[in-house]
């Protein structure tokens, strides 16, 4: 299998689909001539020209709305949010139009739209440029929300996203664009709504998505050294959500820790805890614990930023607490 970076995996999925299907286009700020701020779209304009690789002015609401219009009328646009932080300016379009127009038109229209870009923090961009918006967008029926962490998933889920007939919020792990991994050749679709067991284990279930999955794998390794067998689940897809995989795992391990970079209140981790206690109540030997970002806007200083995000020590400590090995 070829080895690709996370960035290349996304790009190759887009290029493949653009080659296959004329109605697929990409648009966003500086994705063409500039090559994309994170170079995810690099080279596409040379291959597909400016009518299919559209550089836009800085008007997230306007161009996202236009893309929704295109999607309703026969095209399959892929919108780059230069970073998801800017999507608040497009929230009205995403939530009020993309998510709902199918419903309030009585099913007369479809919105095959992908909105993609880097999400999450870790590179000192401070308060306005650091958000993890899985729960924020995942709240709304009519949207799909995914968050791949491996290059293989990035490619397979991007292919699935482009082919989906619904608006997909594609949250990329911005800090991982350069990470490499094996990616199956050719047409390789990772369906939504299926979590991935990234590591099997029997004593405790560790659950995350995005770049926190990598931390969980490190933690699991460390815990293995302490004689604790941790199962690691990568949610991959936030909406639709794979309740079964996590509940099955917890029925086996009887304990769970959910980790996320986003803030705790009304978040993905809240939901995961709620689901587990609802569906595996009698199997739980300890409360589902959560490790989330600090309840502060993201700070700039490196030491503060590190303190604002979950770290491996915190996660390991939470796992031990769930096992009653630590207070």
């Amino acid at each position: 299998m070829p080895v690709m970076t996370y960035r290349e995996a996304i790009r190759s999925a887009m290029a493949d689909e653009m080659t296959r299907d004329d109605s697929v286009i990409v648009m966003g700020e500086d994705i063409g001539v500039y090559g994309g701020t994170h170079l995810v779209t690099d080279g596409l304009i040379d291959k597909f020209g400016p009518k299919r690789v559209i550089d836009t002015p800085i008007a997230e609401g306007g161009f996202t709305g236009a893309a929704i219009g295109m999607a309703m009328t026969g095209m399959r646009p892929i919108v780059e949010m230069m970073t998801w932080n800017f999507s608040f300016q497009a929230a009205d379009q995403i939530i009020q139009n993309a998510a709902k127009v199918r419903y309030f038109s009585g099913g007369q229209v479809t919105v095959p739209l992908v909105i993609r870009g880097p999400n999450g923090g870790g590179v000192q961009l401070s308060a306005q440029h650091t958000h993890s918006l899985e729960g924020f967008y995942g709240h709304f029926p009519g949207l799909k929300v995914v968050s791949p962490v491996t290059p293989a998933d990035a490619k397979g889920m991007m292919l699935a996203s482009i082919r989906d007939n619904n608006p997909v919020i594609f949250l990329e792990a911005g800090a991982l664009y350069g990470t490499k991994g094996e990616v199956p050749d050719g047409d390789f679709v990772v369906p939504f709504g299926k979590a991935r067991i990234a590591r099997e284990g029997t004593d405790i279930t560790l659950i995350a998505y995005g770049r926190q999955v990598n931390m969980l794998l490190n933690v699991a390794e460390k815990l293995a050294g302490e004689g604790i067998s941790a199962e690691v689940i990568d949610l991959r897809s936030i909406r639709p959500f794979d309740e079964e995989t996590i509940v099955t795992s917890v029925r086996k391990t009887h304990r769970a820790v959910v980790v996320q970079e986003q803030w705790r209140w009304f978040s993905v981790a809240s939901e995961v805890a709620a689901i587990i206690q609802e569906q595996a109540f009698d199997d739980l030997d300890a409360p589902v614990l959560r490790v989330s970002g600090a309840e502060v806007p993201a700070p700039y200083a490196r030491n503060l930023e590190l303190a604002a995000f979950p770290n491996e020590d915190q996660i390991a400590a939470a796992a031990r607490r769930a096992l009653y090995l630590e207070k």
Binding site: G62, G65, A66, G69, R102, F104, S105, Q108, G142, N166
Partner: protein, 358 residues
């Protein structure tokens, strides 16, 4: 032409260039100074009267609690949509805000299906799921019906991009209110349209329905620069005004500018001057923001009256014929009400359909 004021020099010369085309049709149609033959105009009269009576019936149903939510009437503005939609061609896309009954009826949705939607019945045009604000009839060219001020404007620009991309020869008519021009969505979308239009990639006709108020706020209280269509200048979009209470003026303008938009792939802006005779919504009882006198003074320009006068003057009809048309229209409205009242509620299973496509 007197009623259509061209603002930019370029637009003026273009309009001159197209006069003959309109004139050509005109001559073929009638010798009475009207741009279309009498039959066609009388049919439009019939449609406008039908819309009026349909909406008056809807208002009554709202007041008796049979229609819920919001209900925004087009009373006083009928000639606007009538005139522009006469230039609709199959494949064109029409998009507007929540004041959308007229657009649906003119495009050919059956009045029963419209009224049933207002009633929230399963036989409604969007199965009772959208209500008055969200009329869609995609087969007939109506792509909605949106409730968030400004929010639909970018969608229309996207439609137009797709039409150009698909080399369809079609165009989009994008209707929006005077209140929505102050919303950022207009600005961003118009700028995109102008930009894309430079390459012929945006056959979008922006139709600003200036009915003088955004809810209770007059144009003067919403902006210091009240020449609204001049705002298109910021985006390199040519534009003109039209007296939209005069169907004849609208028809002339619409034929000319839709041709231009289709041919060039460039957006064009219209400020259509009209007046909302009805309250903002059917629940706007107080109307403190304008005087009864003001409303009364505008009744003189009620587009239905204006058209009646035009037709009579041109000997295109008679009082008796118009009376018959009104009676027929009343029947249509009554029939729609009856159908809506007798229709079943949506099946409860409809609650969860249409959320996601396969």
């Amino acid at each position: 032409m007197a009623t259509t004021r061209s603002r930019s020099a370029k637009a003026a010369s273009k309009s001159g260039a197209n006069d003959s085309a309109v004139g050509g049709r005109h001559k073929a149609a009638s010798q009475n100074g009207l741009p279309l033959d009498h039959t066609t105009l009388l049919d439009m009269y019939r449609q406008m009267v039908t819309i009026r009576l349909f909406e008056e019936a809807a208002q009554k149903a709202f007041r008796t609690g049979k229609i819920g939510g919001y209900l925004h009437l087009y009373i006083g503005q009928e000639a606007l949509a009538m005139g522009f939609l006469h230039s609709y061609q199959p494949g064109d896309k029409i998009i507007t805000a929540y004041r959308d009954h007229a657009h649906a009826l003119i495009l050919g949705t059956h009045p029963r299906a419209v009224m049933a939607e207002l009633y929230g019945k399963g036989t409604g045009m969007v199965k009772g799921k959208g209500g008055s604000m969200h009329l869609f009839d995609v087969k007939n060219g109506l792509w909605g019906g949106y409730g968030i001020v400004g929010g639909h404007i970018p969608l229309g620009v996207g439609f137009a991009y797709a039409q150009a991309y698909q080399q369809s020869g079609n165009m989009t008519q994008l209707y929006f209110g005077d209140g929505s021009i102050h919303n950022g969505a207009f600005h961003e979308a118009a700028n995109l349209a102008g930009l894309w239009g430079r390459d012929g990639m945006n056959p979008c006709l922006f139709i600003l329905e200036n009915n003088k108020y955004g809810m209770g706020t007059s144009v003067e209280r919403a902006t210091a620069m009240t020449d609204l269509s001049a705002k298109f200048d910021s985006y390199g979009i040519e534009h003109e005004d039209v007296d939209a209470n005069d169907l004849i003026a609208v028809l002339e303008c619409a034929q000319r500018v839709t041709k231009m938009v289709r041919e060039t792939g460039k957006p064009y802006g219209i400020e259509a001057q009209t007046y909302r005779l009805s309250p903002h919504g059917a629940a706007d009882f107080l109307e403190r923001y304008r005087s009864k006198d003001e409303v009364q003074s505008h009744r003189a320009h009620d587009p239905i009256n204006v058209l009646e006068a035009r037709l009579l003057q041109a000997d295109a009809t008679t009082e008796a014929e118009m009376e018959k048309i009104r009676a027929d229209a009343k029947d249509v409205a009554d029939d729609a009400v009856k159908f809506a009242e007798e229709s079943p509620d949506p099946d409860l299973a409809e609650l969860t359909t249409d959320v996601l496509a396969d």
